[in-house]
C-alpha cells in the first residue's frame, strides 16, 4: 500500500494502482482520452500528463505510471497546465471544427476537455488532414477525420468483444482506424465502440442527426431483449424514445449493452397496436375499448381461463393477470411459451446461481446446450474474462464461435452422465467449477442430470455456487417466482381447453393448439400473437410502463416509464383491471401502487432491488440424460422478440450481418 502525495494531500493507494487512479482517489479530475477503466492501458493520447517527483523533470503520463511509495504528484502546477494545453493543441491540429454538424456535440470528451483544459485558440494555419470514411456496418457511422487515435475501439474489440476486426493501419500522421477491407463489424457488442469513442469519429448510424443530448429526457430502465437485465437509459423526446444507452452496473452489464438491446429502439414506433381489434368473420376489425370489453365479457368463461405470459412482460403485469385469473377461479398460468416443462418446484435449480459478475471467477465451466454468445452476450464477455484468467470451458451442443478457446464434447447429452476424462478432471480439480445450462438443454430434460452432475462434482461449496441456468427471456425468472409454470408446461393449458386464453404479449406460442379458445392478446406489437388473436387489447411496451424485472440470476430491478403508449394503447395493468370489471370480478387493486403493494405482499422479494435468494439446490434425483442437442433456440440473434422484429435496424443487421446481404450505400 504505497503512500503518495497528491497536490499536498497525503493518501494511501492500493498496490498496483496507477498515478491516475491515485489522483482520482484524491478527488482530482485527470483529463484523458485513451485511458479507460475496463480496457488495457495504451498511454497514447498524452492528455493525462501530471508532474511526478521523483522522476525526470518533465510531465509524465499518469495512466501508465504505477503509483509508488513517496511520490509527490502535482496536478495543478504550471507545468501540468502547460502540458495539457500543448497536448490539446496538438490533438486539435487535425481535428475538424465541425461540432455544429457532429452528433457527438454536447457529449463529446474532446469538446468538454478542450473547454476545460485547452488554450482557447489555435496557432495552426496549415491544412488539416482529411481521412476517408470507413464502412463499419449498419450500426456504426464513421467520420474518420475526427479520429484522435485513442485506439479504445481497437482495444474493445480485441479484449472485451474478442473479435479482432478493428485495427490501426499506417502510422504517425497517416494512421487510420478501420476494419479489414472495411467489412462490417459483425458481433453482438459492436455498437459499444460508439460509447467508447471520446470524439465523434464513431457515432450511431440509426440515430444520426436525430437529436441533441440536451433535448432528451433520460429515464432509467431495464433491457428486456435478453434475460441479463442490462441497466439502460432511455433517451426520449416528446412521445418517442430516440435511443437506448447502457448504464453502469458492475454486477450486471458493467457498462456494455448488446446491439439488440440498444438498437431495437426503432421497433418501438413500428407495427404498434394502437387501438383494440376484434376478429369478426375471421378478419380483425378495428374496435373501441367498449366493444372489446363487451366482446370479452360475452365469452363468459367462468373458471375456464388460462394466462400465458410473453418474454418481455414485467412482474406487475403478470401479477395482475394472475390476480384476474385467480378471481375467476383459475390457476392456469404459464410463461414458457415454447413448451418447456422443467421442474420449477425449487427456483434455485433454475437460477444463475454464480451470478453474472461471479461467473468470471469460475475456473472450469461446462456449458450445456447454450449458445451463450447469442442468448446472453454480456454473460459471454464474463466467460471470456474467466478464460483469460485461466478457466477451461467445455461445451455440449453444436459448435458456435465463443471468442475464446473451448473444448466441444459433442451434441449427445448422455455425456453428462459420464464426462470425458479431461472435462471430468478439470471440474474435479477446479476451485470454482460451474455448469451453465441453456434453453436447448432444458428442452431435452437435462435439468435432472445436470443437478446430479452438480452433486457429483460438488459445484456448490462454501462461498461458491456453480450451478447455473441461463434463461433467454426477461420475464422468465419473474414469471417463475409468480407461479407462471405448470407441471407439464404449456401442454397443461392445452389439455385444460380454456374458453378464454389471455396472452400477455406472448408471440412464440403455437396458437393452433388453442383453436377452441378465445385468445385475448394484450400486447404492443402486431406480431405472431396478434395474428392469432380473437381480441387484441393494445398495451404498453417496456419503455411505456414502470415495472419490475427479474434477470436470470434472480436480480430484482425496477424500470421507469419513459413515454406514453401510442394511440389508444394503455398500460397493461389498467387493461387487466378493466377486464376484471368486464368479467365482473374483483382483483383487489385500483392503482399501480396498490398493485405493486399486493404483489410484494404475495412475493416479498419482488419489493427489494437486488438478488433474490432461492435457498439451496434440491437434492438430485436419479436421472439419466438422453437425447442430442440438434440446434439452439435462437435462430437469428437480431430478431428474437416482437420489438426487434419490427425494428428496421435489426432487420438490416440480420440481413447484412447474418445472411450476407449487400446494401448499396447512399452517396453523401
Amino acid at each position: 500500500m504505497p503512500k503518495v502525495t497528491v497536490d499536498g494531500v497525503e493518501l494511501e493507494v492500493p498496490a498496483g494502482a496507477t498515478v491516475l487512479q491515485a489522483c482520482e482517489m484524491a478527488g482530482k479530475e485527470i483529463p484523458r482520452f485513451c485511458y479507460h477503466e475496463r480496457l488495457s492501458i495504451a498511454g497514447n493520447c498524452r492528455m493525462c500528463l501530471v508532474e511526478v517527483k521523483p522522476g525526470p523533470p518533465k510531465p509524465q503520463a499518469s495512466c501508465a505510471l504505477p503509483a509508488a511509495e513517496g511520490q509527490e504528484i502535482r496536478t495543478d502546477s504550471p507545468m501540468v497546465k502547460k502540458a495539457r494545453e500543448g497536448v490539446m493543441e496538438f490533438l486539435l491540429i487535425n481535428h475538424p471544427l465541425d461540432c455544429p454538424i457532429c452528433d457527438q456535440g454536447g457529449e463529446c470528451d474532446l469538446q468538454d476537455q478542450s473547454v476545460a483544459y485547452g488554450r482557447g485558440a489555435s496557432r495552426y494555419d496549415e491544412n488539416k488532414r482529411a481521412v476517408t470514411e470507413k464502412y463499419m456496418g449498419p450500426l456504426i457511422k464513421t467520420v474518420m477525420t475526427r479520429c484522435i487515435h485513442c485506439t479504445r475501439c481497437v482495444r474493445f474489440s480485441e479484449e472485451i468483444a474478442g473479435v479482432d476486426e478493428i485495427g490501426a493501419l499506417y502510422r504517425g500522421e497517416a494512421m487510420q482506424i478501420t476494419t479489414y477491407l472495411e467489412k462490417a463489424a459483425a458481433h453482438e457488442l459492436s455498437a459499444n465502440v460508439i460509447d467508447l469513442c471520446p470524439v465523434g469519429a464513431l457515432t450511431s448510424r440509426p440515430y444520426a442527426f436525430e437529436a441533441r443530448p440536451w433535448e432528451l429526457k433520460k429515464t432509467l430502465s431495464i433491457d428486456v431483449s435478453d434475460a441479463v437485465g442490462s441497466n439502460i437509459r432511455l433517451d426520449s423526446r416528446g412521445r418517442e424514445v430516440l435511443r437506448i444507452l447502457p448504464r453502469i452496473n458492475d454486477d450486471v452489464n458493467e457498462e456494455w449493452l448488446s446491439d439488440k438491446g440498444r438498437y431495437q429502439v426503432d421497433g418501438l414506433t413500428r407495427r404498434r397496436l394502437d387501438r383494440p381489434w376484434i376478429r369478426r368473420d375471421g378478419k380483425l376489425v378495428a374496435a373501441t375499448w367498449d366493444e372489446a370489453f363487451t366482446a370479452v365479457a360475452k365469452v363468459n368463461p367462468g373458471k375456464s381461463v388460462a394466462v400465458v405470459a410473453g418474454d418481455m412482460v414485467d412482474c406487475e403485469t403478470m401479477f395482475a393477470a394472475k390476480a384476474l385469473a385467480g378471481a375467476l377461479g383459475s390457476k392456469l398460468l404459464e410463461g414458457r411459451q415454447t413448451g418447456l416443462d422443467y421442474d420449477c418446484s425449487n427456483l434455485a435449480a433454475v437460477n444463475f446461481n454464480s451470478t453474472i459478475a461471479g461467473v468470471e471467477n469460475a475456473d472450469a465451466v461446462l456449458i450445456v446446450g447454450s449458445h451463450v454468445r447469442w442468448e446472453a452476450p454480456l454473460v459471454n464477455t464474463r466467460l471470456r474474462k474467466a478464460v483469460k484468467r485461466g478457466a477451461k470451458v467445455f461445451v455440449v451442443g453444436p459448435e458456435w464461435d465463443a471468442t475464446y478457446p473451448v473444448t466441444n464434447l459433442g451434441n449427445d447429452l448422455t455425456v453428462l452422465d459420464k464426462l470425458p476424462k479431461d472435462a471430468a478432471d478439470a471440474l474435479k480439480n477446479a476451485q470454482r467449477p460451474a455448469i451453465i445450462l441453456g434453453g436447448a438443454a432444458l428442452g431435452k430434460g437435462a435439468l435432472g442430470s445436470a443437478l446430479a452432475l452438480a452433486e457429483k462434482y460438488k459445484l456448490v461449496r462454501e462461498d461458491w455456487n456453480g450451478f447455473n441456468v441461463l434463461h433467454m427471456a426477461a420475464a422468465r425468472m419473474g414469471g417463475l417466482m409468480l407461479g407462471y409454470a405448470q407441471k407439464g408446461g404449456i401442454a397443461d393449458l392445452v389439455k385444460a381447453k380454456p374458453k378464454l386464453l389471455i396472452s400477455l404479449g406472448a408471440d412464440e406460442v403455437d396458437y393452433t393448439r388453442f383453436a377452441d379458445s378465445i385468445v385475448v392478446y394484450i400486447g404492443h406489437h402486431g406480431d405472431k400473437g396478434a395474428h392469432a388473436a380473437d381480441i387484441i387489447l393494445p398495451a404498453a411496451a417496456f419503455s411505456e410502463k414502470a415495472g419490475t424485472y427479474v434477470n436470470t440470476e434472480g436480480r430484482v430491478q425496477f424500470a421507469d416509464q419513459a413515454v406514453f403508449a401510442p394511440g389508444d394503447a394503455r398500460e397493461d395493468w389498467t387493461i387487466l383491471r378493466a377486464l376484471a370489471d368486464a368479467l365482473g370480478v374483483n382483483v383487489g387493486f385500483d392503482s399501480f401502487a396498490e398493485l405493486r403493494g399486493a404483489m410484494t405482499r404475495a412475493v416479498p422479494v419482488l419489493g427489494n432491488e437486488g438478488l433474490a435468494s432461492y435457498g439451496a439446490l434440491p437434492k438430485a434425483e436419479k436421472a439419466k440424460a438422453s437425447g442430442t442437442i440438434e440446434a439452439y433456440p435462437i435462430k437469428d440473434f437480431y430478431l428474437t422478440n416482437p420489438i426487434a422484429r419490427a425494428s428496421e435496424t435489426m432487420q438490416r443487421c440480420s440481413a447484412e450481418l447474418l445472411h450476407g446481404e449487400h446494401f448499396a450505400e447512399a452517396a453523401e
Binding site: 479482432d164 476486426e165 485495427g167 490501426a168 493501419l169 499506417y170 504517425g172 476494419t179
Partner: protein, 222 residues
C-alpha cells in the same frame, strides 16, 4: 511517404495471388523462424514471415517484391492471428511494400543532413533517368521513393536500393551505380568515396589520433 495505400482487393489480385504458398526452401525457413519463438507465441514471427513473403513475391515477379492482400492473409492463417493485426504491421513499416514495385526500389533520403550534402542533385539525377516519385518506370526496372533518415548521415547523401545502401553519392556516382545495376552487375555497396572504407573521417582522424597506432591511455591527460 504519407501516401501509402493498400493495393485494392480485386478479383484479378485474388486470381493472381490467391494460390500463394511458400516455396520448398522458404517453407523450411518459415519452420525455422517460427521455432525461434515459444510455442503459442508464433505470432511474434509475423515480421520475418512478411519479409520472406515479400522476397518470394519479388522472386516470382522479378522485382523487389511486395505484399498483396492474399499473401498477408496466407501469413495470418499460418500464424493463427487476425488478418487485421498482420495488415497493421505491414502498413506500419515502410520496408514492406504495399503496392507492386520495380526490380530496383530506389529510396532516396531527403532528410536534412542528406539534403545539405546534396540529395537534391541525387533526386534530380534519378528523375533525369525517367523515374518519378512513387511510380515505377515503364521498363519495370526502377521505383523511386523519397524516404526519411536512414541513419547514414555521416556518409550523406545516400540512397537505398533493395537491400543495399549506396553512400557518399554525387549525381555521377549514382549514375555509375544505377548503370551497373541495370547491366545486371552488383556494384560495391556502402560508401562510393574512393579510399573511404566506412564512415571514418575523410582525410584521416581528427580526434583520438594517438589511438590509430596502438591503444593509448588518455586518462592522464584529462
Amino acid at each position: 511517404m504519407a501516401d501509402r495505400h493498400l493495393e485494392p482487393d480485386t478479383p484479378e489480385l485474388r486470381a493472381r495471388w490467391g494460390t500463394f504458398a511458400w516455396t520448398k526452401e522458404n517453407a523450411a525457413k518459415v519452420k525455422e523462424i517460427i521455432a525461434r519463438y515459444p510455442a503459442g507465441r508464433q505470432r511474434s514471427a509475423v515480421m520475418p514471415l512478411l519479409d520472406l513473403a515479400q522476397r518470394q513475391v519479388g522472386a516470382e515477379t522479378n522485382t523487389q517484391g511486395w505484399l498483396p492482400l492474399p499473401v498477408m492473409e496466407y501469413v495470418a492463417t499460418q500464424l493463427e492471428m487476425p488478418i487485421i493485426r498482420v495488415v497493421e504491421v505491414a502498413t506500419f513499416y515502410f520496408m514492406y511494400n504495399l503496392v507492386p514495385v520495380g526490380k530496383f526500389h530506389v529510396q532516396v533520403c531527403g532528410t536534412t543532413p542528406c539534403m545539405l550534402r546534396g540529395s537534391d542533385a541525387i533526386m534530380a539525377a534519378c528523375k533525369k533517368r525517367g523515374m518519378e516519385k512513387g511510380h515505377t518506370t515503364e521498363d519495370g526496372l526502377w521505383t523511386l521513393t523519397e524516404v526519411e533518415c536512414m541513419g547514414n548521415c555521416a556518409s550523406a547523401p545516400m540512397v537505398q536500393i533493395n537491400d543495399d545502401n549506396y553512400e557518399d553519392l554525387t549525381a555521377e556516382r549514382l549514375d555509375a551505380v544505377l548503370d551497373a545495376l541495370a547491366a545486371g552487375k552488383m556494384p560495391k555497396a556502402g560508401t562510393q568515396e574512393p579510399g573511404r572504407h566506412t564512415v571514418e573521417p575523410l582525410g584521416g582522424p581528427t580526434s583520438l589520433k594517438d589511438m590509430v597506432k596502438a591503444n593509448h591511455d588518455y586518462r592522464k591527460e584529462w
